[in-house]
Homo-oligomer: 311 residues x 2
């Protein structure tokens, strides 16, 4: 297909931005690639890997002349970046981001933007436990979802073009409003991550069970928690601080349910446990049927170069 944008500027050159560059190049979606990262080492690596054609020492310089700007920095850094680049954005440029929360990003970015800029918040539901520009791979978004949360006053053409870009990178695209996105992600991603972090921390604290035992016997179930709990600490700190209300609501519901099951164990109510476990088993089937996971030995990830899709 013909290129959708003439020049993309990535602000932040980590796992997501580098994977986007590779996926865009795979399908020839953009004519030229530039970007900026805070660390000189990251900038050099991104250039060496051929992710971008040119690199800039400042975000302000990177966005000049770009008709697509992608904010791929931790949510906590979005406000300062938006303030810095706003005066330098090309007239009519599309600005998007890949943050895991949308309400907080909108609050941080929108106030700084000139009216001529089309701001379309986005969130690709993909990632691995690896970080940095060398961790990227073109297949990361294949058959994964990307959620866009555009405002009503944004140009329909701009939304259609950004949607076509994500579809060209292999993703399925959904549109919803930002508050609903933040609730859905609190359930499917943010609360599960905090719970996994907690369980791994408990195991690490437990003195009567050695670390080597926890590691040796991790295949018994614990291992799946560690995969989630290995995700980038800075990104996740910002996710929880910026989706505080929804995450705390889900964690409150989780605690209620957990106490009910603990009570059933204490009272030896086997029927309650069996009925609960039977219900959760059916949900797993739904996920496999929806093509978001598979029964295959590699969980359908043979196409991926590393890690497991996750955000």
């Amino acid at each position: 297909m013909p290129a959708l944008y003439s020049r993309v500027a990535f602000i932040g050159l980590g796992l997501i931005a580098s994977s986007m560059a590779l996926a865009m190049r795979r399908a020839g979606l953009v004519e030229s690639y530039t970007g900026h990262a805070r660390s000189a080492e990251t900038r050099a690596t991104a250039l060496d890997l051929g992710l971008i054609d040119t690199v800039h020492d400042s975000a302000a310089a990177a966005v000049q002349g770009a008709d697509l700007v992608v904010l791929a920095v931790p949510v906590g850094a979005m406000a300062a970046i938006a303030q810095e680049i706003a005066p330098h954005l090309a007239h009519g440029a599309t600005l998007t981001d890949v943050g895991s929360v949308k309400g907080a990003v909108i609050d941080a970015v929108s106030p700084h933007l000139p009216g001529s800029v089309q701001f379309i918040p986005g969130h690709p539901l993909a990632g691995t436990e690896h970080s940095g520009p060398a961790a990227g791979f073109a297949e990361l978004f294949d058959n994964r979802w990307c959620i866009l949360t555009p405002f009503e006053d944004v140009s329909a053409d701009a939304v259609a073009r950004l949607r076509a870009l994500w579809e060209g990178m292999g993703a399925n695209v959904d549109l919803m409003d930002a508050p609903h996105h933040d609730l859905v992600l609190a359930v499917t991603s943010h609360a599960p991550h905090l719970i996994a972090y907690t369980m791994v921390g408990v195991a690490d604290d437990l003195r009567r069970v050695t670390d080597s035992e926890v590691i040796k016997y991790s295949a018994a179930g614990f291992r799946d928690f560690t995969r989630i709990a290995a995700s980038d600490p800075t990104m996740w700190r910002d996710v929880f601080l910026n989706n505080k209300a929804a995450t705390l609501e889900i964690l409150g519901r989780f605690t209620e349910e957990l106490f009910a099951l603990q009570r059933a164990i204490r009272r030896e109510d086997g029927d309650h446990l069996h009925a609960y476990f039977t219900r959760t088993r059916a949900i797993r089937r739904g996920i496999v049927e929806a093509g978001q996971d598979t029964d295959a030995p590699d969980f359908g990830r043979a196409a991926l170069r590393k890690g497991t899709p996750r955000d």
Copy 2:
């Protein structure tokens, strides 16, 4: 290598027993195979699949003449089976089990056994979310751990032979006492499973997020919980009822930690969150280095025909 046992009798013909039969046949570890399952359909399937050479309508008939008897039934069914087979066990036969808890199994089985029988409780840390005789595969135990918890008065030769059997099936073998096993498994398996069941149940209950959204966006982290939460309901009901004290202790510690992290989110203590997440990330590295998981796209499970090793 020469066969280690002349005749093995499996009581229960589900995922674990069928995988053991296939792994034993792969290495020629036993001369003849027989078994019993409560359901006539399961008995017929096990015979049709060639897992066992002969099948019996009763456990008592199955164990006659066997020098190795494997109890592969839910923990809650062990006592009745032990009582039934005890009078029919061959003199000097080795009796083992594959239950996920050891203290409760020992309490249920030991009182019924004649002194001539060598009872060596065992627990292979492997499994998938699939159940039944057709779910078995020979590679299930490859590079997984099997824990044996023999008493001091058991014959050293009998322990060495059973150890060689598990190593012949591809497993690594560790010996420890039953109470320590039950604590280690509460941390690495039982608590993680209950937590996964709980999170999946919460998502299913939440009315403002549709089931289809939970399923569509599950790759964001939730999916890894559903894989655990799809395990056999009857087996897991019995695990929690029979490892009650250790599981409740770990869940209590988990709740403490979770509350501390929720508090850090509420107070926006980003340093606390970042330090915690950095520590858990290191544990993940240890597991990969220990060879119990891998960075490869298929998590090193290409050798497996289905599912992910887990108990």
